[in-house]
Symmetry: C2
Subunit: 323 residues, 2 copies
């Protein structure tokens, strides 16, 4: 099949030339999740892999957004360009109260070397992961030197997103207490760098010590990367230069160890599987007809178990998904 140049495909050259207007337009289309922009995104993907993708994660209130702003300014001060994709949790109930954080980034507006996008999806989180990573691809292909992904570090979906990063920074605030630490347990092990934010607060040192002790317990083999714990203050600027240096050092470490290829492969695998799952869910939602309704009714009425129904459903959807 010869593919005609679609409007989306026309944007591809503009994205590759670094035109942010085209980046923004294709990002919006990709976020909508329609198939129409797939050929363009497939082409974009082939031009990715150059940017240093950095995930920054932590519980709400840990000071992630202020940190991302400070790091972005530090990168710009060195003349490098930065794309930021911020994943804001939002529920039908709370209406995404955390979006206000974005306002603090106001002083970066108007700088062509910075591109900031908030993803405020209210739909399936699988879709959110896909949209987020499409946005990262666009910024990567457009030539941004560093792409920061900011996510709330709770839940498997957020962990899946962050796992795609080359370098993962986990942010802790001082004095959040044991309850929060337990929630965060799932993301602690994915940290390449730890940041203790709000270093101006008196209890910051205690949190730094606790994290260092925790890292001692979970120490990986000596040859591998030694995870640093860096205290920062977005307020005073303390630790920001050190953090940026550590982020750069981690990328160099990955390249020289040959671990970068490993990590890129793991990330490709995780992402492909996530999309495969997402395709099943999307095609089910798009199809829903008498046949699929009857299948779910059978499960609901205890005539058929959900495992057998799931197999049948995959068979039914597969011809559409793979066509």
């Amino acid at each position: 099949m010869v593919s005609d140049p679609t409007p989306s495909c026309e944007f591809v050259a503009d994205v590759l030339a670094g035109r942010t207007r085209a980046v923004a337009r294709l990002m919006t289309r990709a976020e909508a999740g329609t198939d129409e922009c797939r050929p363009a995104m497939a082409e974009i993907y082939r031009h990715t892999g150059r940017a240093h993708v950095v995930g920054i994660t932590g519980v709400p209130g840990c000071g992630k957004s202020s940190l991302v702003t400070a790091v972005t300014q530090a990168i710009r001060a060195e003349g490098r360009t930065v794309g930021v994709v911020a994943v804001d949790p939002s529920s039908p109930f709370t209406g995404g109260a955390i979006l206000g954080d974005r306002i603090r980034m106001g002083d970066l507006v108007g700088d062509p070397g910075v591109f900031i996008r908030s993803m405020a999806s209210r739909g399936a989180l699988g879709g959110l992961a896909r949209a987020t990573l499409d946005a990262v691809d666009l910024l990567d292909a457009a030539g941004f030197d560093i792409v920061l992904i900011e996510t709330v570090g709770v839940g498997q979906d957020e962990v899946d997103i962050v796992r795609v990063a080359d370098t993962t920074v986990v942010v802790s605030a001082p004095g959040l207490g044991d309850d929060i630490q337990a929630i965060k347990a799932g993301v602690l092990e994915i940290a390449d760098l730890h940041v203790v934010s709000k270093a101006d607060r008196p209890d910051a040192n205690k949190t730094v010590t606790e994290l260092k002790q925790m890292l001692m317990l979970g120490l990986r083999d000596a040859a591998s990367w030694r995870v640093p714990v860096i205290a920062t203050s977005a307020e005073t600027g303390e630790g920001i230069a050190e953090l940026l240096a550590a982020i750069d050092k981690h990328r160099t470490h990955l390249s020289t160890d040959g671990n970068l290829a490993d990590r890129k492969r793991r990330s490709a695998e995780a992402r492909t599987l996530k999309i495969a799952e997402d395709l099943v869910r999307r095609h089910y939602a798009a199809r829903r007809d008498a046949a699929t309704d009857a299948l779910i009714d059978q499960v609901s009425n205890r005539k058929l178990d959900p495992h057998s129904a799931a197999r049948q459903l995959l068979g039914t959807l597969n011809s559409e998904i793979t066509s």
Copy 2:
């Protein structure tokens, strides 16, 4: 195909007769996730739908486990039977520190009218959801009057598990602060009942008021269920009888409104889709061969985009999944 009676299938009759030893054995096999026990679990499923399934969720440290123990004792005092499935988060890093909570349930050991199971899966969370719901099915089919599912209320996977419940109880502890509230936003809307635990603490009233105000903002149509906020203390026993009465009242409400059928159907749909996703991931992991490795390599090397790879992967796996 005539299916021979497998060892698993022999257990089915014992489970249906309420023999807890058979329940425990089949639960262990189902948790392993092998296909061998699928025919038995399919048969078990046909005998479910009688138990009142109650999800109890909240962040770590909110007092869920103590509450579950107190509610279990209250149900037993009325002569009804209770199954408990507790989902303990565990990571390779922390080694499931929260398992210790189970010890508090010690005084229920030896009572044949109570069955308690901790699911401490370290694998994929999709698999955890499946194993948890298989355990709920077994307890339901074995004739337990009420099945309590205790989960940590953060993350999409936990929400998915709780969504299968007829009645969902969200537990908040007093004074956990705004950060925690933001994390919990995702589960607040799924609450049929709110519990403020540790009612003996002076700041409990403030949390009750805050939750009531939040519910006013999100008020659903007047004809539907009015979500109560109940202050409890596992310590003093305050509010436990009231909570149990509200749980029973919610089930009656569902039955009389005809909403029970709706909810069972939504739950059947969510569960079938979750298993379909899980099948994709499991079959990928089981298959991994030169062909799938080459596919992931292409994605990793930017020769093929992950979306096209996901479609190809589904096509490759489908013949195995649906056979």
